[in-house]
Symmetry: C2
């Protein structure tokens, strides 16, 4: 190696990615690709602290010893070691994967292998690799989360995605616990009327199990369907539960 | 009216449509538009007799007194009387709506009002109005139904839909009770690799209720996810339950 090569700055996209979980194949349990066979890569770290976050271990320090710093190539290798020849779709989840600029390298390597990619983010941060994702879910957080939405950031993300060349699926998905959340959701839908829109049943019990967890989630879902049915400003909208929570409760890695 | 007008043959598309149920707004509980707000029009009559049919009343005579012969205009009127200004999507369901040629008139009237339409059929019969439907679900029946698939008819329907000008969403959805059904489904997917593909949990108890109906459906769904996960010939596929059955059991009109 020449001296000049030695002194080149490291390629920033080659920095390792903080990973908490790699699992699958399983199904995507929620959102626009609900039911779709996929593998999951869950990154560590979030810029939010939602009260009902179902992935608190990605940011509250409780799983910090499980975080692995992996290169894109290592992640791809582990995906294929787990999923072999059975999958063609990878969901990048968090935490907020949009904190991680070096994700571009993983996205590129998956594309090169013909793997479809999906990402979910609250829509607080931009990264250029987002335009190369096939299925982008923006999930701004309603009042019950305790978070405030930065609508300037969200506006800019939505318009960059809508204007970027290339084809991708985009949707906005909002977790609904109560009437306030629904009011927020309706305002978001009005702000971005051209983006497909999903209301998702909130899960009030994000750790442990109880006997009536499924029936309480289904009751919340029934309420949500009833409210959606009544609202003239939500015509072209979907109401969906989290299927993985119905099937597996709050178990991780499924 | 002149004599010549009097003797014109009646417009065949103006014949009334045999309707069993008109209800909504609610959500589409299954398939490609799962969760989507919609109204339902359920027609009477089917050319199949599936062992586990969840709409036997559409063909077994048990609800024959409820069948109403309605014009397209009457159906549209009733949809708006029920749904008012809250909906923009109508699902035409059965029975097999493809038995009804005069459906063309309803499809046309809904299009003129900017309403999106969806139809589900087993794929045994063709009608020209099918190309004007926005979301077509072909649901050929697996061995557990006791029916035989006419693959020549299905081939012809799939290719006519794929070749017809205009935009529509098309999917194949197969109900899965057991390993035989899955073998059948894999062969169907291989035959039509370009058509989006959905596996749907079978519901073995299509009337009445039992305490463990939900948990037994969720166990079946978990099995289906596990099998889908393992299969390299089903990469780009979805596994979905029937959400309405989880929420409402076998209740009609929701
Ligand atoms: S944005 Fe998502 S990962 Fe972050 S705290 Fe909220 S729910 Fe949890
Ligand atoms: S094709 Fe559908 S409506 Fe007809 S018998 Fe089978 S399940 Fe019932």
């Amino acid at each position: 190696m020449s001296d000049s090569a030695k002194t080149l700055p490291p390629d920033p996209s080659a920095r390792p990615i903080p990973v908490l979980e790699i699992f699958g194949p399983t199904i995507q349990g929620e959102g626009m690709s609900i039911g779709r066979k996929t593998m999951f890569v869950r990154t560590a770290g979030c810029d939010y602290r939602c009260s009902w976050c179902d992935s608190k271990f990605t940011w509250d320090g409780s799983a910090k010893d499980e975080i692995r710093m992996l290169s894109a190539a290592q992640i791809v290798e582990e995906l294929f070691a787990l999923g072999g020849d059975t999958f063609d779709h990878v969901t990048i989840s968090g935490g907020n994967p949009l904190l991680i600029s070096q994700m571009s390298c993983l996205v590129q390597q998956l594309r090169e292998r013909g793997i479809r990619t999906a990402v979910e983010t609250q829509g607080s941060r931009w990264q250029d690799w987002l335009v190369r994702i096939d299925e982008v879910t923006l999930s701004p957080k309603p009042p019950s989360s305790g978070m405030d939405t930065d609508f300037e950031a969200l506006d800019s993300i939505v318009s960059r995605l809508l204007e970027a060349p290339g084809r991708r699926d985009l949707c906005i998905k909002i977790v609904i616990f109560d009437e306030n959340d629904l009011t927020y959701a309706r305002a978001v839908h009005k702000r971005y009327p051209d983006v497909p829109f999903i209301l998702q049943t909130g899960n009030p019990q994000v750790s442990g199990e109880s006997d009536d967890h499924v029936s309480s989630l289904l009751k919340r879902y029934e309420w949500l369907i009833g409210r959606l049915s009544e609202l003239p400003d939500l015509k072209d909208a979907r109401a969906l539960p989290q299927l993985h929570t119905l099937v597996w409760g709050n178990k991780r890695g499924v």
